[in-house]
Symmetry: C2
Subunit: 189 residues, 2 copies
């Protein structure tokens, strides 16, 4: 975790409930994803490349979301109008998420915060953090599918380094899987 002044960024604080996934289950999941020590090292190398480019990366990602009405819907109210304040609030945490992913801590505090992020995509917590009045959840299929645009558009920012790119694919897949927990029927995750 990192001390920041980003509203709603609660990573590492008492406000984050314990993840229902154990550290042992996390290790088995990492093994299934072939996510090993070389990937952790590659992620950490990527941080130095990405940190100065966070705003540029977010411009690309927000451009993609903005160009796809079915994705922009997550940030839009019942009249279909995007909520600019909500978009801006999420953007700050999204930038911090890039840095946190590159840090690749993958410990209990990180695991707990992944569950919190997952909840914030679902009917249970969507909009609450920012007091927004947008769609009440993001369909899980889009949460999972965003793996591709996120990691594909990241590639040039990683200098087309294949080891770093693969590590990012694994790290983002690991996270969207953890985010899926609250979407899934009890006992089926």
């Amino acid at each position: 975790m990192t001390q920041t002044d980003i509203p709603g960024y609660t990573y590492g604080t008492d406000a984050v409930p314990r993840s229902p996934v154990s550290l042992q289950e996390l290790e088995l999941l990492k093994a299934t994803l072939l996510l090993g020590d070389e990937d952790l090292a590659a992620l950490r190398r990527s941080g130095a490349l990405l940190a100065p480019k966070v705003e540029e990366i977010l411009d690309v990602w927000y451009g993609f979301v903005g160009a796809n009405p079915h994705l922009l819907a997550a940030f839009s109210n019942a009249d279909g109008q995007p909520d600019e304040q909500y978009l801006a609030a999420v953007r700050r945490r999204f930038g911090q998420w890039i840095l946190d992913t590159a840090r690749a801590t993958f410990d209990q505090a990180w695991l707990d915060y992944q569950h919190e992020i997952g909840l914030r995509h679902t009917r249970r917590k969507k909009n609450q953090t920012d007091g927004a009045d947008a769609a009440d959840h993001i369909p899980l299929r889009y949460v999972l599918a965003l793996l591709v645009p996120i990691t594909t558009t990241l590639k040039p920012f990683l200098g087309d380094d294949e080891a770093m790119h693969q590590a990012w694919v694994k790290a983002v897949l690991l996270q969207v899987i953890l985010w899926s927990h609250p979407y899934v029927r009890d006992g089926d995750f």
Copy 2:
């Protein structure tokens, strides 16, 4: 679909119920995955490379599952013994799945069969097709995570062709997302 004599391979038959996902939703999902015409072409090119290698590929995949007790559990009974007949029956359909994925039809019959495949991973239909007595479901997290070992181990069989590999990553992600539908709470997919 293809006429085969593979037991339980019901793709394109009346035995397969209609998918709850519409073709229009499939198109939006493909767009989110950046899965376009070049990917369909790359998948179809991959078929000629993969068809003569199906058994070799399955050897690699089964080797991975066999080396990971938390994955082999899907094929094991309450005593922890792997069911060899069940493994062999699934293997034949898994081989056909490689060819079907490379065909990249992505039409209504294909969409319907994806839902059927998803159901066969869950408590609703696991074991039924083969009359097996193994674990009653495969946790969704492993279904999703297998994207990485499947597409990574496929790479050499694709001659390390990056366009084909990326197309396979997108096509497998598309499918595991569709397979997740029966795992997800009503209305949240």
